[in-house]
């Protein structure tokens, strides 16, 4: 377990923010922590599941993938988007 800083680009928000997560967090947990700094602050909660992808890519990380297994680098930018079920 180690502190792992990422930068959150949350769907519909206007700014990218620093979000320190843990290297053992799953992508679902990462998305929750990113949402804390955007949802109900400047964006509304949307229907669907929050998913994580590397910034400016299309492929979503598996929801249960750990940060340490994702290949993400510390301070990398991630997109958090709602996937409609």
């Amino acid at each position: 377990m180690a502190l792992f800083p990422l930068h959150s680009n949350f769907q519909a928000d206007f700014v990218v923010q620093l979000v320190p997560v843990d290297s053992e967090d799953t992508m679902d947990r990462v998305a929750e922590q990113c949402a804390h700094h955007s949802v109900n602050r400047r964006v509304r909660k949307q229907p669907g599941v929050m998913r994580v992808r590397r910034h400016r890519t299309e492929e979503l990380f598996p929801r249960d993938m750990k940060v340490s297994d994702s290949g993400l680098k510390p301070t990398e930018v991630i997109d958090i988007i709602y996937q409609k079920s």
């Binding site: 519909a12 928000d13 206007f14 923010q17 620093l18 964006v43 990398e76």
Partner: protein, 501 residues
């Protein structure tokens, strides 16, 4: 004793040059300080500044300017302009003094460098006046806000800002160190006087003086006019330097310096002047929108200056035009949301009438930035102020040192961070132009740590907002930025909702 007519001696004195005999030309004007790009001294002697003055004339005029500005200040001291003005106007004053006063002192260094190291005698002569100008600007813009410090600690940031590690201070210092204190004489002539002053500040100061008069602040209007008339003179040092570079086959090098300086200046303008014009200025005093102002006064006149000199529009001109519609809205939202971290009190500027004005000036504003303000407004109505305050830092660009923002909204969301990896470190940029500036000279920029880099490096302790505020130099609650109107604008929103229902 008979006094010669000015015409008898002026051209001789302003163009006086020496042929060094005890040292070589390169020792007298080392290229890293003069920036002459190998162009010999005699080629610089044709430098012809369009605005000419003599030392006696300069002293006489400057004395009159100072007497005028200080007299108006003394006469209007009892008018209590600060107490009587809209808080939006007062915040423009605080923002201006903090961002500009000590920047003027930095400019003294740049002018001094030209005065000593420029190979062009006319440039050296004009820069001596410029050095005196900037000294005066630093002093007068520290003296005027000083009287307000006893009742409002934020005015102390006129002196304090450049001595702190506030994120806005870091951004300003990074920019001015890049175009002024850390450049050779000819680069200063191009990047400071042509790129920044001719391109932006000269017109900005004209507009600001008019806005001040419109807001009834004649003290500030006089102060700014007094400064602007100096700027319009010493800003003309870059043009003739560019002409010499172009005539001697250095157009590409000259264009590069112009392109870098203009882009960097634009970023600073977007975060300072954009919010001031479109959000802080009370609606009844607003004339042009920031975008209209930029098109009419900055873009048009700067394009003409470039073409007249034989330069091209910067390669990123289309991106620049697109940003006039968007960037400052994001910067304003960021400044307001992270308001405890700045020394001025940003006016939200989003009452129903103000939003209608924004929508008219920037069609689609409500579906973009308006969506974020909707949530903020609802939180304030529901008494959830804590949700309108930050719990983390924004990602800051490794070039401009400002938060990386983009267009929000469910239908319009568009943020593109540009990232490069160098020696295991990731560098993030607001867009391709900021990245391009960095890539022109990575060694120059890569050692710099942004506020986020410093936080992650453990330089900021404790690692929370309180630790960050202390690191930024905030001394007590009185210095922290807050909503300019104490959320009074929410009552207008409520009244509008009541009327609608």
């Amino acid at each position: 004793m008979a006094i010669h007519q000015r015409n008898d001696w002026y051209d001789l004195t302003r163009a006086t040059n020496w042929t060094p005999s005890y040292v070589t030309e390169d020792e007298l004007f080392p290229d890293e300080m003069s920036g002459s790009m190998g162009i010999p001294m005699e080629s610089w002697e044709v430098y012809d500044e369009p605005y000419k003055t003599t030392f006696p004339e300069y002293v006489k005029v400057q004395r009159e300017k100072d007497a005028g500005a200080y007299s108006v200040k003394a006469a209007l001291e009892r008018a209590k302009i600060i107490e009587k003005s809209d808080p939006g106007w007062v915040t423009i004053l605080k923002q201006h003094y903090g961002a500009i006063a000590l920047g003027e002192y930095a400019a003294v260094t740049g002018e001094a460098r030209m005065s000593r190291f420029s190979k062009a005698p006319g440039n050296r002569n004009m820069a001596m006046f410029g050095m005196l100008d900037e000294t005066r600007h630093g002093q007068i813009q520290l003296y005027f806000p000083h009287e307000y410090c006893k009742t409002d600690r934020q005015f102390d940031w006129a002196w304090k800002a450049y001595h702190q590690n506030d994120w806005a201070s870091i951004a300003a210092k990074h920019f001015f160190d890049d175009i002024i204190t850390g450049r050779d004489a000819i680069s200063v002539a191009i990047m400071l006087t042509f790129g920044f002053e001719t391109g932006f500040t000269n017109m900005q100061f004209l507009g600001l003086a008019a806005d001040a008069a419109d807001a009834g602040d004649y003290t500030f209007a006089n102060l700014i006019s007094s400064i602007q008339t100096d700027e319009s003179r010493h800003a003309q040092q870059g043009g003739p330097a560019l002409e010499i570079l172009i005539a001697n086959g250095k157009k590409e090098e000259a264009q590069l310096k112009v392109d870098m300086a203009v882009w960097r200046a634009w970023r600073l303008f977007a975060i300072l002047t954009g919010p001031a014009m479109d959000y802080y200025t009370p609606l009844e005093h607003r004339g042009n929108s920031f975008k209209e102002f930029m098109h009419e006064w900055i873009v048009g006149q700067f394009e003409r200056s470039l073409i007249d000199l034989g330069l091209d529009k910067p390669w990123y001109w289309d991106t620049f035009m697109e940003e006039l519609d968007s960037t400052h809205h994001g910067y304003h939202l960021g400044v307001w949301y992270w308001r405890p971290t700045i020394w001025w009190n940003p006016a939200a500027g989003v009452t129903p009438d103000e939003r209608a004005w924004l929508e008219e000036k920037y069609p689609g504003w409500n579906a973009r930035w308006g969506q974020c303000w909707d949530v903020i407004t609802e939180n304030l109505i529901a008494d959830k102020e804590e949700l309108t305050l930050p719990e983390t830092l924004p990602l800051v660009c490794n070039m401009n040192q400002l938060p990386i923002v983009g267009t929000p909204g469910e239908e319009h969301w568009d943020i593109k961070v540009h990232t490069i990896e160098k020696d295991g470190r990731l560098f993030h940029f607001s867009n391709e132009v900021d990245k391009w500036v960095f890539e022109q000279d990575p060694q120059r920029y890569e050692q710099h740590m942004s506020i986020v880099d410093r936080f992650l490096n453990g330089d900021i302790q404790p690692m929370n907002l309180q630790g960050a505020l202390e690191y930024m130099g905030m001394e007590g609650v009185a210095e922290l930025g807050k909503d300019a109107h104490g959320y009074a604008w929410i009552e207008k929103v409520k009244a509008n909702m009541k009327k609608a229902s």
